[in-house]
Amino acid sequence: MGGIEIHALGKQFQINNRLIPAVCNFELQVSEREFVTIVGKSGCGKTTLLRLICGLENADQGYVRLAGHNGKAFDQRVSIVFQEPRLMPWLTVRQNMAFSLLKENDHQKVDRTVNFFLNMLGLTPFQDAYPRQISGGMAQRTALGRTLCFDPDIILMDEPFGALDAFTRHNLQQELVDIFLSQNKTIIFVTHDVNEAVLLGQRVLVMDKGSIRRELAIDIPYPRDALSKDFYNLREEILRSVLKP
């Protein structure tokens, strides 16, 4: 089960004796199997929010609560795809993707899982390359595959498609929707791209100065047609709300 309850969450950073509120008074309920996208200007606290949710930062105020177990290990409930690939330079693409699976005894199952995601991400021809030998977009895809292989209930994604070309991005958006629909995942997806936010999310949150400024439900069924009138209207509305001073 992958619900998230966030209440009065706050986090400040100290830069040169000045307290910077990165996240403040943040309220959010995410239900199990929900796909939430978050848009907002650079520096509004999106990364900090995701780090608080997966426990990499401790909250100064408020709390994050993750619901139920689903029979998995405690720490397999939530994981994150970072804004940078963060691959292990000493492992090949394939080994990086299998990084969380080394404890798994069933090698055939591991191979099957890794092959599946290598193929999905178009990385099969580069599976034996080291991170230094691949492009930025490939590195980002490897990082995405590494988290998908880990198979957490809740996936946090910090602009995972930012470094990709339009075609790969389009394909991976479709794949992500498929994974979401078929595998009972809860997803929080941060992006700069309003179009992507509307294409993927059941709910779009507009963040500003560490809290939610606006929240919109997107009721269009998947797969979504980015050229439809509804889509266009929603996108314009979100864009206005992001740009509003």
């Binding site: 292990m88 991170p131 930025g136 590195a139």
Partner: protein, 263 residues
């Protein structure tokens, strides 16, 4: 493929040029009578002597003893330095506690301790091994500590969000990321140990390349000294380049392709 082998051959040609030039100049001086044939015998005389010493086993005996000491001493250092470095590298408190004494010992050349070591341990094997351990400990220990304590925090976070326990993070992230730095330390240590050993054998030994040289001095045989020096240099270079080749195999991801700083 062809291009690679061609450029590799070129490297060997370039590397040999200096050696050939020195040999040529040396031969010229000998033939022209510019140097005293006793103080600096001609290269072919040295080669002849070396060949004889190889055939009758004296050279090999000394080489073998020196190599044996280096490898044994090196092994002892590894057993001491690795566990200690792991403990110190992973716990800041230990590092702060040990910093001053380590800094003190680090600045004392191992050879300077030899007289004391001989008094304590005699001129047997143990004093030579002690010199080697002193010479190799610091490069290996300090590099391992640095490699372990300077692990990229971002990679450790990856371990955390992928469910690795603290011990697994040490084995699967900290150690491999420290490996290139550790290997640099091993290589440095290996070079130091060779030099320190020869020094120690010059001061006190009954066998080994250093002893062979000091014995030749007593016998007034500069030709044997030269054979000794050439053996030391050649062996040192051979050991170092085999080490380099081995380390490239151990860290294939390192020094490969260009680094765009994007992973």
């Amino acid at each position: 493929m062809n291009a690679v082998t061609l450029s590799e051959k070129m490297i060997w040609v370039k590397r040999s040029i200096a050696v050939v030039l020195v040999l040529a100049a040396w031969s010229f001086c000998s033939v022209a009578g510019l140097v005293n044939d006793y103080l600096l015998p001609a290269p072919w005389k040295i080669a002849d002597l070396a060949w004889k010493m190889i055939c009758d086993g004296t050279l090999l005996k000394h080489v073998w003893i020196s190599l044996y000491r280096v490898f044994l001493g090196f092994g002892i250092t590894l057993g001491l330095a690795f566990p200690l470095a792991a403990v110190v590298g992973l716990n800041k408190i230990f590092f702060e506690l040990l910093e001053t004494p380590l800094e003190f010992v680090r600045h004392v050349p191992p050879l300077a301790t030899t007289p004391l070591l001989i008094l304590w341990l005699g001129i047997g094997e143990s004093s030579k091994l002690a010199v080697i351990v002193l010479a190799t400990f610091f490069p290996i220990f300090l590099n391992t500590v640095n490699g372990v304590s300077q692990c990229d925090k971002k990679l450790l976070e990856v371990g955390r969000v992928l469910g690795l326990r603290p011990f697994e993070r040490i084995v699967r992230i900290i150690l491999p990321s420290a490996l290139p730095v550790i290997i640099v330390g091993l290589r440095l240590g290996f070079g130091y140990s060779w030099r320190a050993l020869i020094g120690a054998e010059l001061l006190a030994a009954a066998a080994g390349l250093g002893y062979m040289i000091i014995e030749a001095e007593a016998l007034a045989r500069p030709d044997i000294v030269l054979v000794g020096i050439i053996s030391i240099g050649t062996l040192g270079h051979l050991l170092d380049s085999s080490f380099l080749r081995l380390s490239r195999k151990l860290i294939p991801w390192h020094e490969m392709e260009s680094d765009y700083g994007r992973y």
